[in-house]
């Protein structure tokens, strides 16, 4: 089973090709958000270097959100096109799940934080149990102040990962103290190998999607909540 995985949910464009328990190819570019110009040539060079063609791919994995709306649309549209052309199925992987997977077997809480603008982050909390990554919360979009209060209730070490780390990591550290750890750049950002791994895991569980039903997962505050907040500001 061969998978080609794409993550374009942030300023990172990432592509990986994996075959069963073997990572064949992985690339990561974090330079200006020009995914629409770069992604296709990156896929082309991935296939060339892996000595494969699109027909050799059995399933396509994509980070479908949350994340940058534009980025998500580019990634999802690209995967839809590949599935349409090859007749192969797709797997939609949650971006936060994949970020959590960047930090295997951590003994505390793993918190992916992704910039959602205006001091808000896309997030969820995870723990590792018996070698499995278990999500402990809803997928949320929270103001960092709210999130600090939420995490204050939790015990044990907390590791932050994602593009929110350079923006808000220090603030979390100041508020929550030295039990806060920040992922170094080697594993901080989106890695397509995580998407590839989780895609294969979903394939084993039979969780593949017809590309026609593949859609970006935009995470937004409920309208009522936003209106309430606006009223409170006035």
């Amino acid at each position: 089973m061969r998978v080609l995985a794409i993550d374009s949910s942030t300023s990172v464009a990432a592509i990986a090709i994996a075959e069963n328990d073997h990572l064949i190819y992985e690339i990561y570019v974090n330079r200006d958000k020009t995914h629409s110009q770069k992604l296709m040539s990156m896929v082309e060079s991935a296939l060339t270097h892996a000595e494969l063609t699109l027909q050799d791919i059995d399933v396509f994995g994509v980070a479908h959100g949350p994340g940058s709306f534009t980025g998500l649309r580019i990634g999802v549209a690209a995967i839809k096109a590949f599935c349409h052309a090859t007749g192969k199925p797709a797997v939609a992987v949650n971006t936060l799940d994949a970020l959590g997977f960047n930090i295997p077997y951590f003994s505390g809480i793993v918190c992916p934080i992704m910039d959602a603008r205006r001091e808000q982050v896309y997030t969820a909390t995870y723990i590792w149990k018996n070698g499995c990554l278990m999500r402990q919360s809803e997928y949320m979009v929270l103001h960092i102040q709210e999130y600090m209060k939420f995490l204050e209730q939790k015990q044990g070490p907390i590791l932050f990962v994602g593009d929110g780390v350079p923006l808000y990591g220090v603030q979390f550290q100041k508020y929550l103290g030295d039990r806060v750890l920040l992922a170094p750049f080697t594993c901080r950002m989106q890695q397509a190998s995580s998407i590839a791994f989780l895609t294969l895991q979903d394939v084993q569980k039979g969780k593949v999607t017809d590309y026609n039903f593949l859609a970006p997962f935009y995470l937004r505050r409920p309208q009522a909540e936003r209106e309430y907040e606006k009223r409170m500001e006035k």
Binding site: T34, S68, F69, T70, A116, R117, R118, Y218, R220, Q223, K230
Partner: protein, 155 residues
Amino acid sequence: MDMHMVSTYSEYETEKIGKQFAQYLWAGSIILLSGDLGVGKTAFARGLARGLGIEEPITSPTYTLIHEYTGRLPLYHFDVYRLNDVEEMGDIGYEEYFYGDGVTVIEWPQRICEILPEAYLTVEILKAEQDNVRNILFQSKGFKYAALLKELNLI
């Protein structure tokens, strides 16, 4: 609200004002652009784009809601006239633009007043009595834009 007014005598001059204006903008600036049909909003936007070093043709995003350009700063040009509901701005992820790394220009801003940022600069292009003469009125909201207006006084 502070204000500043400039008169122009041709479309070319309106464009030139836009171009000069662009040099004072920063990543995250919000410009609300209004004026009647055919008054020169696109000419002003084109000038602004040229001032940001964008050489592509600039067209009105009436049917597409947003056009994105790459220059010294990215330019996000919105025309929200055809929006049915302000909620649709959420669907296109407007926060990535308004609170992003570029210059945002919004035409028909009154249609989305619920979600406008706290501070911005309004540019209103008004027809004068004589043909081809335009009065361009700049007004600021928030201290950053008040400071920008002071610099505009030098134009």
